[in-house]
Amino acid sequence: MTAITRRSRVLGPLVVVALVVAACGGDTGETTTTAGEATTTAAEATTTAAETTTSAAAETTTSAAGGEAVEITGDGAITATFLPKCTNIAVFPQANSGAEEAAAELGSDPAEFVGPADCGDSTGQIEFMTNAVTQGVQAIMLSNNSGDQLDAPAQAAADAGIPVVTWDSPIPSATGESVFVAQVDFDETGQVMAEMARTILGDDGGEFAILSATPDAANQNAWIAAMEEVLATPEFENLVLVETVYGNDVAEDSVTAALGLVDSHPGLELIMAPTTVGIVAAAQAMEQEGLCETIKVSGLGLPEEMAPYVESGCAPEFALWSFVDLGYLAYYVAYGIATEQIVAEEGAAFVAGRMGEYEITADPTREAGLRVLMGPFSKYNAENPGT
């Protein structure tokens, strides 16, 4: 036996094992430069309601056009799919627990909670949408992570008579979508982020950067666009947005992206992360590098994950809404449409269990599509740690 044979016998299986191991690892993408395609149009977000934490939205206004609000009640069990951006980020199981609570109240079965394991996987949702249609579920609740890439499978769902209720992140073109359950007003998110930036940077302002999720995330893109609108107003002229980078909602990628910002912008004073993954990663990176004194972190974060950084001063203030409530409301809406208690059209008003009355309106933040607005925002800081 020659040496070559012996070596290749060892090498072969090794290569195979290495491939398998590599397949299980996450992807580490380098992240640079600016702006994904912004999916929203205009915002007249210039109100300075400032310190208030309540959504400006019509949370409990009675519908003018649609007449009496329909109370959504239990009408048998339905099968449904609850499809998050990915399953490994804390907020999505939280949203699902809200959906389970709603299902139990309505005497329905819990929706199947399935999705890509990794939020960096921007095409993974296509397969889950397609499978849900094949399974003939009665409703799909989706947080879109794939930009317009879900247009075709969402349309297939609509063609099959399956309502697609988006929550957290809509389908930008609204193709195949019944209605979007918005956590907060997307323009208001831009306003709140700009205000937090101003609170932290002070009236003299300074340089800050945005660390977002994936370039295709419809919600983050809309919020960033809305924030940029607010920054363009005179009141915020001292706040300089130097760069927007993407951490793909993957912890390692986000840390890398945050450190990259520090390296490329010596004058940086704040990282604004409109994603619960990015904000923790950025705070962690700044703390490990001992940079918390000079570079603060803010954005949208989960109080329980952010508590240590509020305490250490890395993250003086951030905001969020309840994902449990969002999942709860999304399930009520999907159930109401699937059982034909409500119709997804402008002016339809309904009562969703413990959360009260809502109305379906045109979505002012997209060119097409309907919206149910949840709200409100909560701001968290040293006085209100939220835990």
Partner: protein, 333 residues
């Protein structure tokens, strides 16, 4: 029948595994058996399985091409960049994108044949380099809003219920089978995979065959990248990332020796059916993607381990049976 099974031991095992998968799937999900689902099952992985066909040639030839997924991303990125820049008509941009894939394959093939470097290393560099190029071209952007006819290519059906890419795959499969197992070129691929030296002494133009395979691999990967863009309607620099692993998995599971020289198109097709059916069945049963990957990983390790263990067992025992061509067992040096 029995003869066939002894001669094609690995294919026979795969048929059993595939049958078992189908039975389990039927038991797991009432939605599995349906024509629409059968089309979806291929459609959702169409880019991968198109590349699997050409990867089969490369590995039987005793080489490997780790760069395919990056070349997919690179070709799509080239097309998307040209489309965004509005420099050339979109159809031309597509052709340039596919040509970029061919050139990527040509460059790597030249380095491998002219300098005699291992393809594992050269295409690993390609994996990194072409992915980098795709990301440099597109940065963090997602390019979409392609002309409607383009998205129709990926999403609409051509023949009956079959999308164009699916038709392309099955036609390509038949052509590939003929070339690999019924043509002189195919024989050369096997001979070189068994021993490049023997092939050289027999007057086979080894480098020319290898070069052609790498160009084919790059071209097909480029085409797959474009089809991917058409199917999902958007291109990012990360398009197809890590697909090379799934692609190589299917080829090896098909009984193609990682050392070259043996394997059959039938085995690869069976492996590909098995993997797609496992993913689809588990997906329809709402079983986690991580578990799906785990099951396929176990299958792959098993596919390398079992034939080698069996071979060792046979060698230890002075068996009367002639040594059947072990699927994964290394050929002579």
């Amino acid at each position: 029948m029995r003869d066939w099974a002894t001669k094609h031991r690995w294919e026979a095992i795969l048929i059993v595994v595939l049958a078992a998968t189908i039975v389990v799937n039927v038991a797991l999900s009432p939605f599995y058996l349906g024509f629409g689902n059968f089309v979806n099952l291929f459609w959702l992985s169409i880019e991968k399985i198109i590349v699997v066909v050409v990867m089969t040639f490369v590995i039987i030839n005793g080489e490997i091409d780790l760069s395919v997924a990056s070349v997919m991303g690179f070709s799509a990125a080239v097309t998307a960049t040209l489309y965004n820049g509005d420099v050339v008509p979109f159809a031309v941009a597509i052709l340039i994108g596919i040509a970029a894939g061919a050139i990527a394959g040509l460059l790597q093939g030249l380095v491998i044949t002219r300098f005699g470097l291992p393809s594992l290393v050269v295409t690993l560099a390609g994996l990194i380099g072409f992915r980098g190029a795709a990301r440099v071209l597109l940065e963090d952007r997602s390019v979409g809003d392609f002309p409607e006819w383009f998205e129709r290519i990926g999403q609409q059906t051509l023949v009956g219920p079959f999308p164009i890419a699916l038709v392309l795959f099955f036609v390509g499969l038949v052509v590939a089978w003929v070339i690999l197992e019924r043509s002189a070129f195919g024989r050369k691929v096997y001979v070189i995979g068994n021993s490049a030296d023997v092939a050289r002494f027999s007057g086979i133009e080894v480098n020319s065959v290898k070069l052609r395979l790498f160009v084919a691999s790059g071209t097909v990967a480029g085409l797959a990248g474009i089809l991917f863009a058409a199917r999902v309607g958007a291109v990012q620099g990360t398009l197809g990332e890590t697909y090379e692993l799934d692609i190589i998995t299917m080829v090896l599971l098909g009984g193609v020796s990682i050392f070259g020289g043996s394997g059959s198109m039938l085995g690869v097709v069976l492996a590909l059916f098995t993997v797609l059916n496992i993913r689809n069945g588990l997906g329809l049963a709402n079983i986690d993607g991580i578990i799906q990957t785990g099951v396929i990983g176990l299958l792959l390790i098993g596919s390398v381990l079992v034939p080698n263990l069996a071979r060792r067992y046979r060698l230890r025992r002075p068996a009367p049976a002639s040594p059947a061509s072990g699927a994964i067992a290394p050929g002579p040096p």
